[in-house]
């Protein structure tokens, strides 16, 4: 056992027992971040803030929510929205954050792609990030079911039905997921469990892993420069803060992020209080009705691009392409065959590839919501084929060319 002295204060007392000073150094004051970054590097902390909002408002909502097909709709729309003090606020914050968090995630992802932050030692950051994306998607889908409105019910019908297309085990799998032959009380209950228990636990664990995976390769920077972090940290600690190419996570980096979070919160609360329909579809304020199919069934905006890939082909092929689209970004670090780590605007063909990919995904998103009639179907097919080609064929080809050109 270590030797304990009489502490000269609360910090010292804690430090002797928990090593809080070293802990703060490791996690905060001597956790080094490159200086040359722009506001896109604030997205990570904004995401963490959004997750905290989702977690806390979620806990408040669970206090009054009832996972029962006979009670769910009214527990949300009557009890929470109208009877509980500020219940509407927690629900609007939760619903809008669930949608906005995807916008920030997409920005975070495309920042990573643009600056090549998934390469050369940063593969695990990318993969754990993608894992978070998939987990958030599962959270979003399971959460969307809980108010038990028309879209909750019919989205659950359509999405669980997709698993029926898996060869051999399809129909049994659908039944197993639903817990019944049709979407019903058992389905609602198990998705409630997933949404409020299992998935949040896994999400928290993967967020911790995502941060951990950053520690060794460090955060990338705006010019994708390879830094000697030890050397730069020495400069910083020696007082040459201006010359050093790094800053401390706390307070240097976070003070900037807190400023960005405040700005973001103005935008977020504008959406929460004045412009929420995009995140809380009006159709979902109609109670679930198994006998009345809504004229248009569509997923939330952040799933539209992959949903459009599903619709872009005949059923079996569409399902297979949809499956590929869901996982293709996981292997991005290995599809990019070039060892050049640089921002896209320094990489020629890759730059073109980046913007084409972004535009293609936007086209998929927009057409994913339109009714599948006439020319819309052709556009779906073309954009879907282009998406798959861009990732599976074109990216490896242009990055192999890039590697060869460098030699």
């Amino acid at each position: 056992m270590a030797e304990f002295k009489k502490a000269d204060g609360i910090v010292d007392w804690l430090d002797q027992r928990l090593a809080v000073k070293s802990f703060m150094k490791v996690m905060m004051t001597q956790y080094w971040i490159p200086k040359k970054i722009n506001f896109l590097w604030a997205m990570g902390v904004i995401l963490l803030t959004m997750f905290a909002i989702l977690f806390i408002t979620g806990l408040l909502l669970v206090m009054y929510y009832k996972p029962d097909v006979a009670l769910a709709f009214d527990s949300v729309n009557k009890t929470i929205m109208q009877e509980v003090e500020y219940g509407w606020l927690w629900r609007h914050m939760h619903g809008v954050a669930a949608s906005v968090v995807f916008l920030v995630m997409y920005i975070h992802m495309f920042t990573g792609i643009y600056y090549g932050s998934y390469k050369r030692g940063r593969e695990m950051i990318w993969i754990s990030g993608m894992l978070l994306f998939v987990l958030f998607s599962a959270e979003a889908f399971s959460g969307y079911m809980l108010p038990w409105g028309q879209m909750s019910y019919w989205a659950a019908m359509v999405i669980t039905n997709l698993f029926g297309g898996i060869p051999f085990i399809g129909p049994e799998l659908v039944e197993w997921i639903r817990g019944d032959y049709a979407v019903g009380d058992a389905t609602l209950n198990r998705f409630f469990m997933l949404h409020v228990c299992l998935l949040p636990i896994v999400v928290i664990a993967v967020i911790a892993f995502h941060f951990y995976s950053l520690r060794f390769p460090h955060v990338n920077n705006e010019i994708s420069e390879e830094l000697d972090f030890d050397l730069e940290a020495e400069k910083y600690l020696a007082g040459q803060k201006k010359e050093s190419k790094v800053i401390a996570f706390w307070p240097d980096f976070l003070c900037k992020d807190i400023f960005y979070i405040c700005l973001f919160m103005i935008f977020y609360f504008y959406l929460v209080c004045f412009h929420y329909d995009f995140a809380m579809d009006p159709i979902n304020f109609d109670p679930a009705n198994a006998l009345k199919t809504p004229p248009h069934i569509y997923p939330e905006w952040y799933f539209l691009w992959s949903y459009e890939i599903l619709r872009g082909f005949s059923y079996e092929i569409g399902l297979a392409c949809f499956g590929i689209a869901q996982v293709i970004f996981f292997v991005l670090p290995f599809l990019d065959r070039s060892d050049v780590v640089a921002p896209a605007h320094k990489r020629g063909a890759f730059m073109v590839w980046f913007w084409v990919l972004l535009l293609d995904m936007i086209i998929l998103t927009i057409y994913g919501k339109l009714p599948p009639v006439g020319i819309n179907n052709n556009i779906a097919t073309i954009a879907s084929v282009l998406f798959l080609l861009l990732l599976i064929v074109i990216l490896p080809v242009i990055t192999i060319m890039e590697r060869k050109a460098k030699k």
Binding site: K78, L89, I247, M265, F269, D277, F278, I362, P371
Partner: protein, 361 residues
């Protein structure tokens, strides 16, 4: 400067996605319809023309298309005739006391006007178990010309005429029209008088009910401000009760349809929906258009056009907002405060950042 450019790119792309999945997608998914119009003559003839055009441009072929066009042409002709008759009635000088007599003779066997002592209506004659509306407040709630139109041809006026024909007549039977669809001077005068009579008692009936409710509220132990609000809401609710609550529940306000659900289902084809959250589900604009002309907004719906005048339609929508979106005022006032809070925090955070980064640049 560079950061600003990046931000601009972000805003533009986010804006495009938003525009695509919200306004643009909804404009593609929902049919565009003309604005609310309380001139029912213009509204109906215009809409009949739109439907005729649709029938002529439809993808259908052969006999089916011919039939649709034939129907649409008939419909246009019927509406033109109906509203021409109404114009004729509206131009007459009406007499309230004659109207009361005509009401007793023509209407009182099915309809009550309990405010003025008409209570002899026989509900048991309804084929569906439907309760016929008490017309005490009809003159205040419904459009005058609509009341004339419904006296002549209820199915056409309520726009559920596609459901009815000679074998399956509309449950409201009227006999003011001649065989050829024209109206005699005598009958026109009767209808004019009846509507004048309904108007003469309508506002009084509504006012007396409002006063009764206000009295109850004033007797309760609420603060004066709450009393004011409750009285305001009771006025909205009253119009809704008269106009909508024979068929629709609003269970969040403990308001339940007066007609038995099974009878309603048999009559309408399905149970009319509970309207507690309809303001969030459909929105004010949709509801306004829908109430104004049900078939225009949702072709084939079983819901009749009930002929509310502009004021009572406003009352109904205020009521639905009060029930389904009760926290609107709180949401909007709190929203501004939170945004101001974060704006102040942003300024403080920026100053703090500047202080710290002084050493770093």
């Amino acid at each position: 400067m560079r950061e600003f450019k990046i931000f601009l790119v972000l805003v533009i792309f986010t804006g495009i996605v938003y525009w695509g999945v919200e306004p643009y997608a909804h404009s593609q998914m929902n049919e565009h319809t003309s604005a609310v119009n309380f001139d029912f003559k213009a509204e109906d003839i215009n809409q009949a023309k739109v439907e005729l055009e649709k029938a002529m441009n439809s993808d259908k072929t052969g006999a089916e298309k011919e039939k649709d066009i034939e129907f649409a042409k008939m419909q246009l002709k019927d509406y033109e005739q109906l509203w021409a008759n109404v114009d004729k009635i509206a131009s007459l000088k009406a007499d309230v006391s004659n109207g009361k007599e005509a009401f007793e003779l023509n209407c009182a066997s099915c309809h009550r006007a309990s405010f003025d002592g008409f209570n002899d209506a026989d509900d048991s004659i309804s084929a569906y178990g439907i309760i016929y509306p008490d017309l005490s407040t009809a003159g205040a709630i419904y459009d005058d010309k609509f009341l004339m139109a419904i006296s002549l041809n209820p199915a056409l006026a309520m726009k559920n005429h596609k459901k009815y024909n000679e074998q399956n007549p509309h449950p409201m039977l009227t006999a003011f029209l001649e065989e050829d669809g024209s109206i005699s001077e005598e009958n026109a005068q009767s209808v004019a008088d009846i509507v004048a009579y309904l108007k003469s008692i309508g506002n009084k009936a509504l006012l007396s009910e409002q006063e009764k409710l206000a009295k109850e509220i004033n007797a309760s132990k609420m603060s004066d401000e709450d009393k004011q609000k409750a009285i305001e809401l009771s006025k909205h609710r009253l119009v809704f009760e008269h106009a909508c609550a024979r068929c629709h529940d609003v269970k969040y306000d403990k308001l339940f349809a007066k007609i038995n659900a099974n009878d309603l289902a048999a009559y309408m084809g399905s149970i009319p929906p509970d309207l507690s959250m309809v303001i969030r589900a459909k929105g004010e604009e949709y509801l306004n258009k829908f109430l104004n002309d049900t078939q225009k907004q949702l072709a084939g719906t079983a819901m009749p056009r009930v002929g509310l005048n502009a004021h009572s339609q406003e009352e109904v929508i205020s009521y639905l907002s009060a029930v389904g979106d009760s926290k609107k005022a709180e949401r909007e006032s709190l929203g501004i405060k939170i945004m101001i809070y974060f704006a102040v925090m942003a300024v403080l955070a920026f100053l703090w950042k500047k202080a710290i980064w002084k050493d770093l640049h």
